[in-house]
Symmetry: C2
Subunit: 260 residues, 2 copies
Amino acid sequence: MSSPASSATPNPTAAVLVIGNEILSGRTKDANLPHIAEKLAGIGVRLREARVVPDVEEEIIAALDALRGRYGYVFTTGGIGPTHDDITSACVAKAFGVPLERNAEAVARLERHYGDPSKLNEARLRMANIPAGASLIDNPISAAPGFRIGNVFVMAGVPNIMQAMLDSVLPQLEGGPDLHARTVACELAEGQIAADLGALQDRYADLEIGSYPYFRNGFFGVSLVLRGTDETRVVAATEELAGIVLRLGGTPNVTVGTKG
Amino acid sequence: MSSPASSATPNPTAAVLVIGNEILSGRTKDANLPHIAEKLAGIGVRLREARVVPDVEEEIIAALDALRGRYGYVFTTGGIGPTHDDITSACVAKAFGVPLERNAEAVARLERHYGDPSKLNEARLRMANIPAGASLIDNPISAAPGFRIGNVFVMAGVPNIMQAMLDSVLPQLEGGPDLHARTVACELAEGQIAADLGALQDRYADLEIGSYPYFRNGFFGVSLVLRGTDETRVVAATEELAGIVLRLGGTPNVTVGTKG
């Protein structure tokens, strides 16, 4: 593309790897992906792919290797607890070709957390096994740390722990240009506005224009979301789109951001 | 493995491909994956992987080709509407190396749905473009069909439409042996039961035993889920596990299925 945005600093990219049989069985609904997506967008990092794999060594390693080679950052969730099905740390070590070592600082954190030495049994000490060369990610809730190795950030699956870990690593990331967004919601059907919307996308090839139908409060409608790094262009396209909606007999409801 | 289950009829496998920028931006929370997972488990099909990709042709085709070669069934959601960002059907045609054709039966369904011919504009007619050789999947809600080609099922992203489409294709699928599950919930911490749980998993290598910590109503605890195709083995392992929980000072709460 020869669009204005593509000649500017590109936004760093990221992928999420969700690890766990419970997501694939439908038992547990993943709540981490949308949270990570929003936090990354807030610092100008574009989430480009997500994968969910079971607690199976070869699947975890293959997905990790595919993603870490393609994207700037990879965030994994799940599989770093004390039970036999928590195999993420060992898989990451294998993927990077480094030994899995008992990390002294991680042991010290667990010792402080559990207090009574009899509580820090061998299962819990497994949570201090970290790939050699990794740096720890703080876990202010249950002590057992996540870790970063290369461009991979290994985090817990439990949402409140994952969120605390992500908050502590966000300042370490190199962000990109701000991503600006506007949403134009209206009660038109997608099929009524599709032709004009496609023509608008052609004129604003540097923006990403998405169309999301909804059914709310008994009414059908569509939310049209415009995104890009050049806010002037986003605002100009939004104004044109609001005019299109009016011409087609709709009432445009414009909001800043992607909600609406 | 030389476990009893692995010598029996294996369960067919499946993958889900979620297509759409809105999932990767965090704007929309995917609700389809857990629904598909539960429905497949109900007929003995194991969901083994899920991927989320943006509305980008090469990403969709690459993911589709990777998944359809590895798993028995692939279910895609999203990207089959009337707007410019709905490119799934064209991508599926390219992946299969067949032309994208205007499907007469799909046109007839749209004509019946819209009634007034002036409403069936070119954008809406795009929804009747279907890869050659595909069979249609009914859409009782908004008429525009999904389709099946080879082992790939292409469905809408809007949850109520996706659910209706899935219900109509489930009877076409070859299922596998029933997957039986029990859940043992207790107020122990994962770290207290991890060693015994690992030993139990070793004795029941034909079962899948998962450990999922929770925080509910002000109390921490763990749900231990046992699954397998041999119900006798699942029940036996559940009884042993309940005994382990009692011995460790916990109160086992046993339920049938994966909830609890």
